[in-house]
């Protein structure tokens, strides 16, 4: 096995609490009604194709991509469109949504293969692969939900050298990617080859942290059978799953400020997206389900579920033993970068990697006291920024200085707020500052 790598400067080691590690992926039964948000990705919202009363099949296109940086939305179930309405998403805002009354048995859209036979034979060429991935509504499943075909289309003047596969899952508690790597290892390997063909690169590297030793071993055993794929074990450290840190750890290259991984010759995909690519290309299956971890110290049975998009969170929580009495906070995603959701009705979307329950006492923030200038925030910042300074500048609304101190480089990993012994809300203020600076930069361009 090769040497453990990691990014050297910055980062933290939160306790990993992987309570649902090693739990098999269970299929969650389809609820009576699902709420499919029309737009579940970063970029232009798609155009709605169905109306109230329409009968839809599983996998049927519900909303069509509204531009290049946009994605299709498909029906996760068979049934009747009950209503075109709005529903709250994890941001707390109401967004356009399609409510579908589901039928128990799936009637699949034509052309979708529902068998689980491993198909290693990649017939499509590079361009067709990108086309297929776009058609099937694939977006980054690590949480960023950036349309996948955009990342696959290497812009003119840039060259991709490596496909970097993100199997890091550095967020504490979450195990969805881990479970997928264990259960769908071969499909992931084929998926990687599909993406390699799509991007046009000869080598792919899968980064996996060493708290998932079984996944490292399993994929390393499979690798020789798949040309060009290697496994890079990584020393566990947060936020190694951030693409900038992952590229730094594996290739020792730094994505320039405001740049993309392609600027240093890399294209990064999460293992969940890789699996979805396999299904899209080999089985013609659109992105209508994903793996969701339900976890938390008070959760009765922490587990990994295969969930149809649109399923309300409450149905997923019930399957894991219900919402505990002393719940203080429900987080969509991990504890470091996930979003606290305001209600249990919020539906699962393409970007939902987990539901984390925090107890009342875990949900509270400690009292804020004065900065003692311990430099811990500077030490842990993986972007080599000075969070204490950015916070002060943001509090004083000094936007020019914030821009100079490169506030926009912040990846919002939260390491600074995590480590601060004075419990200062560093990231809260930095986010505020970032939005102000972004606004000013935008107005300058006009």
């Amino acid at each position: 096995m090769s040497v453990l790598k990691t990014f050297v400067k910055g980062g933290i080691h939160p306790p990993d609490h992987k309570l649902s590690a090693g739990k098999p992926i269970q299929n969650l039964p389809l609820p009576k009604q699902i709420t499919v948000l029309v737009s579940q990705h970063i970029g232009a919202p798609p155009k709605l194709l169905v109306k109230r009363g329409d009968q839809v099949k599983t996998g049927q296109l519900l909303a069509e991509s509204g531009g290049f940086v946009s994605a299709n939305t498909h029906s996760p179930a068979t049934g009747k469109v009950a209503k075109i309405d709005s529903a709250m998403d994890s941001s707390g805002y109401r967004k356009p949504a399609i409510l579908i009354d589901t039928e128990e048995t799936d009637e699949w859209e034509e052309g979708i293969l529902t068998d689980t036979v491993l198909d290693k034979n990649i017939q499509l060429n590079g361009g067709d692969i990108i086309q297929k991935i776009m058609e099937k509504g694939l977006v980054g499943l690590g949480g960023a939900t950036f349309p996948s075909h955009v990342k696959l289309s290497v812009p003119k003047g840039k060259t991709a050298e490596y496909l970097v596969i993100n199997g890091v899952e550095c967020e504490p508690y979450l195990t969805a990617d881990h479970a997928l790597m264990m259960e769908k290892s071969d499909e992931i390997m084929v998926g990687i080859q599909i993406l390699m063909k799509g991007v046009g690169v000869e080598s792919a590297i899968i980064g996996i942290e060493n708290n998932k030793q079984d996944a490292i071993e399993k994929l390393t055993r499979l690798a020789p059978a798949y040309k060009g794929i290697s496994i890079q074990p990584l020393k566990t450290k947060y936020p190694q799953g951030g693409e900038k840190q992952l590229i730094k750890a594996i290739l020792n290259r730094e994505v320039p400020p405001g740049g993309l991984p392609i600027d240093v010759g890399a294209v990064v995909f999460n293992v969940g997206t890789v699996y979805a690519s396999y299904e899209a290309v080999q089985k013609n299956k659109p992105l209508i389900e994903r793996i969701v971890t339900v976890t938390g110290k008070s959760v009765k049975e922490p587990a990994n579920f295969r969930v149809r998009i649109g399923t309300p969170s409450t149905a997923v929580l019930d399957a894991a033993g219900g919402l505990p009495e002393d719940t203080g906070k429900i987080i969509s995603g991990g504890p470091m970068m996930g979003r606290a959701i305001p209600g249990t009705e919020i539906p699962i979307t393409k970007g939902s990697s987990g539901l984390l329950i925090l107890r009342n006492e875990e949900a509270k923030r400690e009292k804020i006291i004065a900065c003692i200038r311990c430099t811990k925030c500077v030490q842990v910042c993986p972007m080599y920024l000075e969070p204490y300074l950015l916070q002060t500048l943001s509090e004083k609304d000094l936007t020019d200085r914030m821009e100079q101190e490169r506030i926009l480089d912040c990846v919002e990993c939260g390491s600074c707020s995590y480590i601060c012994p004075s419990n200062r809300p560093l990231l809260d203020y930095i986010r505020l500052g970032k939005s102000k600076v972004t606004k000013i930069i935008r107005s300058r361009k006009k």
Partner: protein, 332 residues
């Protein structure tokens, strides 16, 4: 419907708090306190407890009565200041002088600037230097280490090894003959010499350094950069003329370099924020200390060196920035 907390990420927090960090510093200082009590007996204990009690009391009273705010003495920072002040004075210092020192440390050094986090100068050193200038006789009459036999009001006092050397050199003597008047290196390492209550034992102080590194209370940069610059600078002088200048090892083991470099220069509030800044700050302290020791009026200079470099910290912070991720990277 349940009431759910909604707040921005991150949703979890690390275990370290200001309180835990301060008490880790206290724990790191315990071996040195133990050695001090072992050599100076009850005097060391009296001085240390009086200093702690008065620092905590003054901070409490100032916050409660003058500032009318919620007292925050439980964070432990006043306890650390108290211990460090005590460690920087002779173990037979009259009680009223210690109390005065604590008042200056906390009142002038810390609370006038707005309390924890806002003071530009190390509070314990502000108090120590105030006492040194105001009470030069009491502050330089060190008790002879006699273990528990040393009574608090012991009349037998003498100069520190650095003081003996300085006076000797000024009187025109040469180093080789003076070396016989000071303890050997092993005694210096263990701390068997005259000096301020807590600065003596390099052994105990280094033990605490290890503990603080293990607990990630501080990083190694400031102490190591001070040690290195002391070794290099005093080493050059020593190589040039070993009859006139002390060896780097003697410099490291005597006076307050260990205590200063490990516990005072690393004071969070008054030291730089970036790694580059820490290097510059540490090198500055090391060089200034040796300059004062060799050419200054005082035999020991680390307190002044740290205070002088404290004044440069805001400047260091605004000029020495970390290289930002992705900027001028080697990309290799």
């Amino acid at each position: 419907m349940k009431f759910l907390t909604v707040s921005p990420s991150p949703h979890v927090h690390g275990a370290a708090s200001v309180k835990s960090l301060m008490y880790d510093v206290v724990i790191a200082l315990l071996p040195a306190l133990g050695i001090s009590i072992y050599f100076f007996g009850v005097g060391a204990l009296v001085v240390t407890s009086i200093a702690i009690a008065s620092c905590v009391l003054f901070e409490y009273l100032i916050q409660k009565i003058l500032l009318r705010e919620e007292p925050s003495v439980s964070d432990g920072s006043a306890v650390v200041t108290g211990i460090l002040l005590a460690f920087n004075v002779p173990a037979n210092l009259p009680i009223w002088i210690i109390i005065l020192g604590a008042l200056v440390s906390i009142g002038v050094g810390k609370m006038t600037f707005g309390g924890l986090g806002n003071n530009p100068f190390n509070p314990a050193l502000v108090g120590r230097v105030f006492l040194l200038i105001s009470f030069p006789v009491q502050m330089t009459s060190w008790p002879v280490p006699k273990g528990f036999g040393t009574s608090y009001t012991d009349a037998t006092t003498g100069a520190t090894p650095l003081g003996i050397i300085k006076e000797g050199l000024l009187a025109g003597k040469e180093l080789p003959e003076l070396m016989s008047e000071v303890p050997g290196y092993l005694d210096l390492f263990v701390g068997y010499m005259k000096g301020s209550a807590g600065e003596l034992s390099a052994m105990a102080l280094l033990l605490g350094f290890g503990y603080m590194l293990y607990r990630k209370v501080i990083t190694w940069h400031i102490p190591i950069s001070i040690f290195l610059s002391v070794i290099v600078f005093s080493g050059i002088m020593w190589v040039v003329n070993p009859d006139q200048y002390l060896s780097p090892l003697f410099h490291l083991l005597t006076g307050g370099i260990m205590l200063g470099a490990i516990y005072m220069a690393t004071d969070y509030v008054t030291s730089p924020m970036t790694t580059k800044g820490k290097w510059i700050y540490g090198i500055g302290i090391g060089i200034l200390t040796i300059i004062i020791r060799i050419w200054g009026a005082y035999p020991e200079g680390i307190s002044f060196a740290i205070l002088i470099m404290n004044a440069f910290v805001p400047l260091i912070n605004s000029y020495l920035k970390p290289r930002r991720f992705g900027k001028e990277a080697s990309n290799g």
